[in-house]
């Protein structure tokens, strides 16, 4: 069970103002489900969208690294960012059972594989 990245996807989709950045991510697959973890530090829950279309999983996350009023910036490395990750799933997954949780800046997605797509063992008689 593999996933692969669509080449050059970030460049095609990037809006003009803020470039989309591919987040660091991990994929862990068992026979029953894909577990995808995407690192999106500084992104609030409502800044994330997850879409699944024709076996292509798209995760978009918008980070607002805003500075509270009255703060003077001395040094800056955390910027406003658009994260974009597109993964092609090689197995059919059950869209209705897709779950996503955000914890400590890491988005965890669980994508259960459809029953029909699971490997089946045939008994030889």
């Amino acid at each position: 069970m593999n996933t692969c990245c669509i080449p050059n996807d970030t460049r095609v989709e990037a809006p003009a103002e803020t470039p989309a950045i591919k987040p660091r991510y991990f994929v862990d697959g068992t026979q029953d489900a894909y577990e995808v973890r995407v690192e999106v530090p500084g992104v609030a829950k409502d800044g994330i969208s997850v879409d699944l279309d024709q076996n292509i999983l798209t995760v978009r996350a918008k980070r607002k690294a805003s500075v509270p009023e009255g703060w003077k910036t001395l040094h800056r490395e955390l910027n406003d960012l658009d994260y974009l990750l597109r993964l092609k799933l090689n197995s059919q997954v059950d869209e209705s059972k897709l779950t996503a949780t955000l914890e400590n800046g890491v988005l965890s997605l669980c994508l259960p594989v459809r029953e029909a797509a699971k490997p089946r063992r045939v008994e030889v008689r």
């Binding site: 950045i21 987040p23 660091r24 690192e39 530090p41 609030a44 040094h75 800056r76 490395e77 960012l81």
Partner: protein, 146 residues
């Protein structure tokens, strides 16, 4: 505010730093987290591997923000020693087959006159904000014209 000699730091891993960067930002005396991952063989593939830091101030406080995705509250250590603020974060990565953990750390130099007793830190959405109260004599003062 001064530069920290890089050789004094235990996590001195990368051989090359951006020299211009180093001069431009007094706080960037140490390579950013991200540079550690630029070493060949480390997590290649993703474009954004930066675990960056921000420094801000207002009249009462200095604020340092660190990017620490996937790190739990109890796995973060914040330490102020001789005007150097060090944040260490333990990350644990679990997959079905293996489990690994590693420590990321970053140090920034903070100006003299920080009240070390009352430093506080907050973790939210993978970003750690450390609040360092300025000592009384460091706060801006308005002088009345008599």
């Amino acid at each position: 505010m001064k530069l920290i000699p890089r050789s004094n730091h235990p996590t001195h891993l990368s051989r090359v730093t951006d020299f211009d960067d180093w001069f431009r930002n007094p706080f960037a005396a140490l390579p950013s987290f991200g540079r550690f991952f630029e070493l060949p063989g480390y997590f290649t593939g993703a474009a954004s591997l930066r675990l960056a830091a921000d420094i801000h101030e207002d009249n009462e406080h200095y604020y340092a923000r660190f990017e620490v995705p996937g790190v739990k509250k109890e796995d973060v250590k914040v330490e102020l020693n001789n005007n150097i603020l060090t944040v260490c974060a333990d990350r644990k990565e679990k997959t079905a087959e293996s489990e690994s953990s590693y420590t990321l750390s970053r140090s920034v130099s903070v100006p003299e006159g920080v009240n070390g007793e009352t430093i506080s830190a907050k973790l939210e959405d993978g970003v750690l904000t450390v609040t360092l109260p300025k000592a009384e004599h460091r706060k801006p003062r308005t002088i009345q014209v008599g």
